[in-house]
């Protein structure tokens, strides 16, 4: 599999300004095919903006995003913190949304099984819990057989237990389907658990990155998370002063 080292997403000299506000400044980043990237950083650091630029939902002021595929848009799916399901459609219809395939229904059922919601096909989003809704949103994102998955805090609104289960589910799917994934998260622990590479967004640019060890254990996750957090907060060591 020499494919593994191909660059899937190439971000070159990206600048993005809103009026006078610089959201992104000189961002350069190459993402390999099959790689799992976590984008972390302070609120307002430009994580979502970068993701939206890659998704094509916004245009860079200068610079370019290149996706290494001819028909790139259909290969890319975005998932957000809000499920963005259509409330007037059943779960199954939400999955079929925007799909023209003949075998849509069967494929949707398969994906519902994958996210363990096969019994909820006829339910409406209002009848589901937050975690269930996010699983439907994940299944919907997978409907078009994407090659790239862009996740903007998809687990941000979930409780810790559901969150942990979803992390494993997403990791499992991304590995099995060899997806190139970018996960925006404010949770450094989550980033250290899931990502192959963690990118810290600070002062509107990717200021620091860290490769994560393969098959990491809890201790290694903690160390990576600590180091990344230190980078974000610009503190090598937090001193607690006692009076």
């Amino acid at each position: 599999m020499n494919e593994l080292n191909n660059t899937m997403i190439s971000i070159k000299n990206i600048n993005k300004t809103y009026n006078n506000l610089t959201a992104l400044h000189d961002v350069n980043l190459d993402i390999k095919q099959g790689e799992f990237i976590a984008l972390v950083g302070m609120s307002g650091g430009g994580k979502s903006t970068l993701l939206r630029l890659i998704a094509g939902l916004e245009r860079p002021t200068t610079g370019s995003v290149t996706i290494d595929q001819a028909d790139s848009k259909t290969l890319m799916r975005v998932m957000f913190q809000e499920d963005r399901l259509l409330p007037w459609m059943s779960v199954l219809d939400n999955l079929s949304f925007g799909s023209k395939d003949k075998n849509t229904k069967a494929h949707a059922q398969e994906l519902l099984e994958l996210v363990e919601l096969e019994d909820y096909a006829d339910h409406y989003p209002t009848q589901l819990s937050g975690g269930q809704k996010q699983r439907v949103a994940l299944a919907r994102a997978l409907m078009s057989h994407p090659k790239i998955l862009l996740l903007d805090e998809p687990l941000g609104a979930l409780d810790a237990l559901t969150r942990r289960k979803m992390q494993d589910l997403i990791l499992d799917i991304c590995q099995k389907q060899n997806l190139t994934t970018i996960l925006v998260t404010h949770d450094v622990e989550e980033a250290a658990r899931m990502a192959d590479r963690i990118i810290v967004m600070k002062d509107s640019t990717n200021s620091y990155e860290e490769d994560c060890p393969k098959n990491r254990n809890a201790g290694q996750i903690g160390i990576v998370a600590d180091r990344v957090l230190g980078e974000i907060l610009d503190e090598k060591r937090v001193e607690i002063k006692t009076a």
């Binding site: 998704a55 094509g56 939902l57 848009k73 259909t74 799916r77 975005v78 957000f80 809000e82 963005r84 259509l86 409330p87 007037w88 459609m89 949304f97 925007g98 339910h123 409406y124 209002t126 009848q127």
Partner: protein, 158 residues
């Protein structure tokens, strides 16, 4: 500004323009129902969740698909509120129009009966209006529950 004029205040003007006939009544009802429908439709479309529209954009929907798959269904509850309200306005307008500027109809009949102190006919007219109003409201309601059945699926009865 125009919409701040109570449409019933236009009755003298419309009588002058169109005379006392069907088209005067219909015009009055049309004017009276136009604004609640328009305002609610406008508001419904304006308040569609921008997140859903962005979701549609990421699916590269065409303008037409965007309207029929996202904007219209999202605005529909508000549009139906406008229609239901307009139905109420419609009956009120019709009663007033028939009472003041008509030579036939239930309102005319009630007005006539009033002149002859014919209590039974007056009461009958009121009852007929009540029944018609109720029926149209039921039709509107069944439209709502037909089109918006997803809104009645609270988690409690899941």
């Amino acid at each position: 500004m125009f919409r701040n004029i109570p449409h019933l205040a236009l009755i003298p003007l419309i009588i002058l323009w169109l005379g006392i006939n069907e088209s005067a009544k219909i015009s009055l009802v049309a004017i009276g129902t136009m604004f609640p429908v328009y305002i609610n439709t406008f508001h419904g479309i304006r308040s569609v969740d921008p997140d859903l529209i962005e979701m549609g954009r990421s699916y590269e929907l065409t303008k037409k698909q965007m309207f029929f798959k996202i904007i219209f269904p999202a605005a529909l509850p508000q549009i139906l509120v406008g229609i239901r309200y307009a139905l109420g306005v419609m009956w009120t307008t019709l009663i007033v129009a028939e009472t003041i500027s008509a030579s036939s109809g239930i309102g005319y009949m009630a007005n006539n009966a009033e002149d002859f102190v014919d209590m039974e006919t007056v009461v009958l007219c009121i009852v007929v209006y009540a029944i018609l109003g109720k029926i149209s409201d039921l039709i509107a309601k069944s439209f709502e529950s037909l089109l918006l059945d997803w809104q009645n699926t609270g988690r409690s009865n899941a």
